[in-house]
Amino acid sequence: MKCPPFDYHRATGVADAVATLDAAGDEGKILAGGQSLVPVLALRMARPAVLVDINHVPGLSSLEVRGDTLHLGALVRHLTLAEQDQHPLLAEAARWIGHTAIRSRGTVAGSLAHADPSAELPSVLLACDGAVQVAGPGATRRVGAADLFVGALQTDLGDAEMITEVELPVPDGWGFSEFARRHGDFAVVSAVATRFGDRIRVVIGGVAGVPHLVSPPDSTPDLLTVSGAVQDDRVAEIADAAARGVEPASDLHGSADHRRALTREVVRRAVAQLAGTPTSDRTPVPA
């Protein structure tokens, strides 16, 4: 189907974008990569009066490590995420997003703002305990991953607010596993595991409206590895606990039982991969 009519505004800067959104009330929408918004318009699931195209806003495509954190401009495309080597977990997750033609347009902030419960990047943001910088009318603020996602396709962002930057701490170890019907399809269930120091975080996507955080108790890494070898029992224990802790719904893509079984397996794989990451293999992070 064809999109409903709208006014098009090509924003020249962040302030211009925010002011245009503000003037549009709840009738304005940001247009970034368009890989989620345009299908929504074509299927007539929304009919915003004004689209604010941020693709020409300067300064939103940078990618830079400062301290232990990767800072990404809102417009960094999925293809760039997949090609960079400063945040290997992010690169791996981005390779699972759609196909090359989708990754060449889709943006990091667009994926977070769209907040699809099966999307990879929201899970990565939560697993890394990252945050977004947000510009709004008259003020800027920083929103942590735990507060950003409030429901399926719902975020804490106001109508005139715009993500300008994504902050993604680089973990000391990580694991990623996803089950999709075909590579490039949205995940049925996915799991991201990270280790920062001796804290392990596991996030499951596709089992709730928002990414589901499991923090395994007793998550000291030496429980996972005994002289470099992965302790399978411990990994299985974490996977079982994770599967018990989710309440997935049934839909077209899988029943609740199927999703629970997948949860156990993707968590097992992600945590096994995390446990197998030798400490010496850590990505060097320039100061």
Binding site: C3, V38, L51, G98, R105, G184
Partner: protein, 160 residues
């Protein structure tokens, strides 16, 4: 809105409504109906073209966003004298098409793949072509065609 864009090396100026997709602008305003439309929401791949060197879904980009862009479509593949591009020739020879609805998107996706990876494995070809849906061929002929065209292109332009 007035926009200008370069398609297969030729500059065009068109006046489009903001909601006009790039696919519709190519087909309806410029008469370049080689770019096909299937789903019109990003999932089938029929409308895939190359914009500023990267493959994109022409149904998920508005024409106004392509202002100033350089675009390659299936019409630009064959030589001026009608000689088929190695990919087109291979699709024909390997039965990589039947009805042809998916073919322009398949060709443009494969074109970008071979531009960036001259010798992809069959697995890589399958992975890259998986974003394009074909109801007719069963895909084997398509993978054969891309593999065969890659070999032919390496013959034509051996690395120095």
């Amino acid at each position: 809105m007035q926009i200008s864009l370069t398609v297969n090396g030729e500059r065009h100026r068109v006046d489009v409504e903001p909601r006009r997709t790039l696919a519709d602008a190519l087909r309806e305003d410029l008469g370049l109906t080689g770019t096909h439309l299937g789903c019109e929401h990003g999932v089938c791949g029929a409308c895939t073209i190359v914009v500023d060197g990267r493959p994109v879904r022409a149904c998920l980009m508005f024409a106004v966003q392509a202002d100033g862009a350089s675009i390659a479509t299936v019409e630009g593949l064959a030589a001026d004298d009608g000689t088929l591009h190695p990919l087109q020739e291979a699709f024909s020879r390997c039965h990589g098409l039947q009805c042809g609805a998916c073919t322009p998107g398949m060709l443009m996706t494969a074109l970008h793949l071979l531009d960036t990876e001259p010798a992809p494995s069959r697995d890589r070809i399958r992975a890259e072509m998986a974003g394009n849906i074909c109801r007719c061929t069963g895909y084997v002929g398509i993978v054969d065609a891309v593999e065969s065209a890659a070999a032919r292109q390496r013959e034509l332009a051996p690395e120095a």
